[in-house]
Symmetry: D2
């Protein structure tokens, strides 16, 4: 509830943008897994600001420190506490925002919910908080690797520029070959150009991230409320700026007929499989052994580097002149976060599924 | 976890399509609420099969019995057990399906997950299970009514026939004036015609349901993983046949710029409000007092009244000739289910939000 | 939370003494377990009223109906709904209690907590509610049987009459040979005589139930808050009329020195074991493979068949003249409840422990 | 589950005795509470080692750092991350214990549960972990203070030396006047002498801590599984070395008759109260407005400063010669831990109880 994610493998997080640190506790991590610190840091680096010219210029190394739960390089089965110190805050950037509500941000809702709020850098509503998700996700991935499960996300749309095909049409090894994290290099260039244009304009732009999970065994997911895709959906919708989630054919598939969309079962070398995968790897809320794929919609970032009209806490009209360092487009940095959330859902369900039989 | 929904106000369900009964337990229902049995039954009637010519002809009265938690017409604060007896099962319809896997159904995944399955009517994966959600949702609505919160869902798309505008363009009092549950009567007729055509063809068709929540106070939703829209998304994605969820501008909004999409705050008669509502009533995961609206994508029903190729448990190719009574389009009956899930999410968050202050 | 017990294997209950039914939902029951209805009913019969002259004379057959989750005699892994109809209510017995608070009962606290209460038979606070626990426990025992784990509880003290030794001194096959459920037949006779004497006096008497769990594997229990004995303690303290819990040497052991109480490890035929078992089979909150044993203190039942002074809801002094049918001593009927709660804790922890490794 | 305590107000902990740090995350802390850092540190100081000659000589300042959730001295309603660095580890003390199992410690059970263990200072099973509980408890107390609820624990028995009366017989302001934390100064001296004698002998001794909660409103606690005393019991049994819990008359009351033990309701200046308080302030699992009191049994510490026989991981007999710095009696340092756990239970239930009505 609230700041905890998952049932068996859980991540509980803390931290604000300009507080002492952000971090969390991973509970239910299986014992005996080798902890590859380089991999964890690598995922953090893919998320961190300042990594390219199209991301925010806040430059923090985001060095993670594991505080417990690891002994002689292996997980012990006890909780893993971790934190990343906040080092590059420029809280003074927010001095002019203390008493006003930034449009489409959480200022107004936090203030009304809690009766007070930490205005520095968006406080808890900052995307800086997703650091903890990347750490949790990276540890989950280390366990999933041993099970042969891989997760790859990529930018499939920025503004109106979009990839036409699904993941089967691209070489996913190219995702990190460009700063947009799009496997189609030509589209990637167009996306990058659009982001630069939007940035020059002091504006922001949205987009869509696609994700594919390969190697998932049959049987993960719970039939009723905790369908696998319901869990994946909640995980993605919890990421800052996400406005939509769809899996398999998603919204586009609603205009099809059942006879078109049904995935016919066939036997292939003695293995039961499906001829098509319109179901996106999940049937009745449970993984069916095919690739799982889904798409996540991100709105344009609310923080603009141009003036906006708004009101202050007294309801008086005023003008907001943003000064912070912000992303013109969150998608490149959100790719590892999407992967991380998916990884935690998968591992959590894998573990829970072990309890179906005694 | 698994068959329980919610944190403070919770619904735990049981039942299979052809078992003795379906039902559940509602826990955390506030004390002292008057229980309007007619309203609860009304919501069940809107969901039940056989209510019109475009729904399945399985005719069950679906009479709900409350077994506890109510005394002299009021809730006592103790758990409300309830059940609906299954009376109109025709299990013999499924005799030919015991050993084969219906395409895009849960047969294959259940069988592999549990090692055995109840093949009668889809067992637990049947949409009959959603009866329990309607009961839980109806009770939640009785509490929400006292808070001035209303929830209205309607069919906004069937196949390629769709309403162009959002909820603000229609008279929502017309939703139940037609069997499709669409507030645009002309489109409703077209949708109905399409469903009849598809049905005559032994086929099925998907669509989209829209939902709007009015009167929600500021402050509901939790900032991190349990953002209000993440909870609504999980709730909707848990409904049978749902493939996507979006709120506010959703997927369409990703091609906009921040300067277009941001909802500027203005003061209106001393009240702070927003000029537009692209955020869909939720900012930073917390309700902002504007109307909450979202859309839910339903795939075409997997059960066809025509033959389909498939395999049996041994992987041998076979032909499935469906005989059951099924819906050519689930949307009309899914409207109260969408409302019910939303109601439970709202009440749960309303109650949790009371704990923010001592 | 509230009316749900357990984490992986969970029991959620509903029902009041004089409502329509009592029952519950068992979730997380492993799939493929054979359901022995005779055994479940047997456990209910050991709990039911009217089984002997020293229990309440309310005579209900307490026939349990399983409503879901079982197919062809085996559990399917889906939730098991169940209920027992209330058939022998004499609500008129409680007419004189509607407006007053029975001493040491829950009337006053329920009324103040909820603002209203169901006065018939104690409503939800009635021990009749423990029926659901016996059903949940019986199903858990069916799974534990396959793992070689057995649970036996017995009456070890009634009033001042107590067994001097622990479980190792008695033939536990004799527990059900007498209506007190005490394995020492001589003491059993004395206890029975005391209960008859107390009953004749319109009074009640307390006692202690001991319980031993054999065959528990090493490793069950979670190190921090959910230590195995903390879970067992919570389970027992949740039973009506329980006032204390201790395991291993318990309260008596506090006056010992560490050098006396420590259980020295020894190797026995290549197996590591402990020379003594003062720890009660649990070390650091985790089962160590030795027998687990604990003791549960029950206060004398609050309902007396003699007049008592009390006040009504207005604070006016009045006299309560009880008329119901009540137990002079709850221990004989509480024995299967203690076993049931222990069984659910054990199975829940067994399942959770499967998730420690991938 | 596992390393999280509570439902609404929750504490999740991490850390091992000789790891980088111990700490945790407090979630659900009400917003707007002033954070008195001196009080938090004071509670930690009452728990810390080296505070007197009868506690372990491991000298750590145990300085707590709050990492989030507080802004301008007040809680913001967001999670409070905190940690205490481990600074005074002497891991070499444990070099000789890596391959053997200390009697009545968690070495054997951890090793078998997880397949590996951190042997330094007992790893996660160390009582050092209770630091996090004291921080969580101190924050809970800051909220409870505003509600007029106070919690006081004290040592009531060490070995065979015990206070004869309950809390009503002593001046509780004297608890911290002596290093044993016993309000009876004469008994305190005897207890201290006994602890010194035991320590000189390289041995350890157990005892009992009593606790009283004053000012608790009527209505806290949930009727079924989460009875207030069941939650308190679980909280206490989760503390290292605890073997038993009882409330009200507890085990001693079982030999009474109902007519003796029942608490008769009386009106006192228009207020309903009870003539006696044998119920310990809880009826039907719910607080009744009287003082809540309970007792907690602690076994003698397992670590002795004398040699003990044991076996190693291969089952070979060996001798353990302890070298660490340990407590001859944990009770003086456990007093603030008992208070802390009680405080968290109370606040959690207070918050949950706000959701009973809309």
């Amino acid at each position: 509830m609230r700041n905890t994610f998952g049932n068996i493998f859980t991540l509980t997080t803390f931290g604000e943008s300009h507080g002492e640190a952000v971090g969390g506790i991973i509970d239910g991590m299986p014992a005996g897994i080798e902890v590859d610190m380089d991999f964890i840091q690598h995922q953090l680096d893919r998320r961190r600001p300042g990594q390219s010219q199209i991301t925010t210029q806040r430059k923090e190394p985001d060095h993670v420190e594991l505080l417990s739960g690891v002994y002689q390089g292996k997980t012990t089965g006890t909780p893993i506490g971790f934190m990343v110190r906040n080092t590059n805050q420029r809280s003074s950037d927010y001095n002019n925002m203390v008493d006003l509500f930034r449009p489409s941000h959480a200022d107004y809702t936090y203030y009304n919910k809690y009766g007070l709020r930490d205005p520095r850098g968006g406080g808890r509503s900052s995307a800086r908080i997703t650091i903890s998700r990347c750490v949790g996700g990276a540890l989950a991935m280390l366990a999933l690797q041993q099970l042969g499960i891989t997760i790859q996300a990529y930018t499939t749309q920025v503004g109106d520029i979009k990839l036409e095909g699904d993941y089967t049409h691209y070489d996913l090894s190219q995702i990190d070959s460009n700063i947009v994290r799009c496997p189609d290099l030509e589209k990637a260039q167009q996306m990058e150009a659009l982001i630069r244009e939007v940035k020059a304009d002091g504006d922001t732009i949205g987009g869509v991230i696609a994700c594919v999970i390969k190697g998932c065994p049959v049987g993960l997911g719970e039939p009723e409320f905790d369908k696998l895709h319901a869990q994946l959906g909640a995980a993605m919708l919890g990421i800052n700026a996400v406005k939509g989630f769809e899996y398999g054919l998603g919204f586009d598939g609603v205009s099809q007929r059942g006879s078109q969309q049904n995935d016919v079962f066939v036997a292939h070398h003695g293995q039961i499989t499906t001829r098509t995968n319109n179901s996106g790897g999940i049937q009745g809320g449970i993984s069916n052994g095919q690739n799982i794929y889904f798409r996540v919609a991100f709105k344009p970032v609310a923080t603009l580097l141009r003036s906006q009209n708004t009101v202050d806490a007294n309801g008086c009209a005023t003008v907001l002149q943003a000064k912070g360092r912000h992303d013109p487009c969150v998608l490149p940095r959100a790719v590892p976060i999407v992967e991380s959330m998916a990884a935690m859902v998968l591992l959590d369900n894998y573990l829970l599924n072990k309890t179906v039989h005694i």
